[in-house]
Symmetry: C2
Subunit: 237 residues, 2 copies
DNA sequence: CCAAGTGCTGAACGCGCGTTCAGCCGGGAG
DNA sequence: CTCCCGGCTGAACGCGCGTTCAGCACTTGG
């Protein structure tokens, strides 16, 4: 099974080069089973070549990983510039839809974001910056609520979104839907739950004081009654 | 380095049994570096014993993993019953605070939730059920907003929370705080961002129509203007 | 004092991994 | 035709893994 996610790489008569097939196979398997548990031989078999050829092209298994990182980051970049030239922004939803064409790539991405590494860190940085820009736009349009610290909010939203996706197996088990493996037509419950949370929040304003009390209590467990407000960073409107 | 998280296991004169030391070491290393990348020898060295002894006690490396799962699930259960007998509920915040005493355990938990497995799936189920109960309580007290589908909301909140935590390295990099590795005193920015999101939401109600239009547009990209409402599941109040 | 049992280890084994190497095949240049 | 050169392979190598095994030290029971 060869994944065809590159822009111009249709199922035309011209076969893909071996190098590209290896890269596809590696992204697929690394994303699915993890780097450590995937053998070079498995990658080679999936690509229809011999194991030594993988080494010949990428130097070593680690070299292959680096190439995969670069590949995924590259696809992501073109995805973004495509979105920009289409006039739409690369929201979480858009990312999810776009990557429908190549689920292995999304799997790989989720693993890599967690593991880190220079290439992926840079990609995440970029995601945060982009998110900040179009969140600011949307805020100007009255679609998004203002934040005390937009950057921190953007980071948390990103990590929560990707984090939940990275646990999509549990999601499938608990809600019956995996936005990664199921087609968009089936995303209903996922979209509904996420929309509800992000539209209205979860806690009522009345919970704020409870929250502060909880934190204060932990900070100084001797006091059973919360102090007025020592808070600095975590004070909320 | 031996992690002491068991209830009565202070640094008293009585040394821990080898079996327990192995278990601690395994939880720590599996949680830190993953199961596949951790060697039996490394576990043995950390526990101050020989590799064959590990096999002697747990049958195999997989047996060790199962025992770790059981161990972590067990600690979690006592944690919960402690919380209940204290009269407080095991919220996300509470979990985070409690696990300060044993960060390796939390690391292990996050990995295992993602990977699944009978033991951990059961634990996650329990977390969801518990969450449903105390969310209903809090809702009755007027602290939590009602939901169209409380279970789905609980699941998404759980996965988003744990998911974000599982990416705590990126969090540290991007916000300067990791609620897993830093002490609660430093959690300010994290708590602030999360509180803001969950208290007030992110999207304004005005964004709802945009959201529906986006989904409709994807469902039937030919229509540039969104249809009225075909929606079933994802309709929102 | 011996015999059996327990907890544990060092040495060794087999396996499968990533990697190396010598050489095959096919197509273009001289 | 001959030569060469790059893409590619099968066989082989060394290493480190999980696991096995024989046996040591120490306790326990008679």
């Amino acid at each position: 099974m060869v994944y065809r996610y590159r822009a111009g790489a249709g199922p035309g008569p011209k076969e893909k080069g071996a190098r590209d097939r290896i890269l596809d196979a590696a992204v697929g398997l690394f994303g699915e089973r993890g780097f450590a548990t995937t053998t070079l031989k498995a990658v080679a078999a999936e690509a229809g070549v011999s194991a030594p050829l993988v080494v010949h092209h990428f130097g070593s298994k680690d070299g292959l990983r680096t190439a995969c990182d670069a590949e995924v980051a590259g696809v992501f970049r073109t995805l973004k510039s495509d979105a920009v030239s289409r006039g739409s922004s690369l929201t979480m939803f858009e990312i999810l839809v776009q990557f429908q064409q190549s689920r292995p790539l999304l799997h790989y991405l989720l693993q890599s974001i967690r593991d880190g590494g220079a290439q992926m860190d840079e990609l995440v940085d970029q995601l945060v910056e982009d998110s900040l820009v179009y969140t600011a736009d949307a805020e100007a349009q009255g679609l998004v609520r203002p934040s005390l610290h937009p950057r921190h909010r953007a980071v948390m939203l990103l990590l929560m979104s990707f984090g939940a996706l990275s646990m999509h197996e549990q999601m499938k088990r608990l809600m019956g839907v995996s936005p990664i493996e199921d087609p968009p037509e089936a995303w209903g419950p996922y979209v509904a739950a996420v929309s509800e949370i992000f539209l209205y929040g979860v806690l009522r304003p009345e919970a704020y004081e409870e929250l502060v009390a909880l934190i204060e209590h932990h900070r100084d467990p001797d006091l059973s009654t919360a102090r007025p407000h020592t808070a600095g960073e975590e004070s909320l409107p």
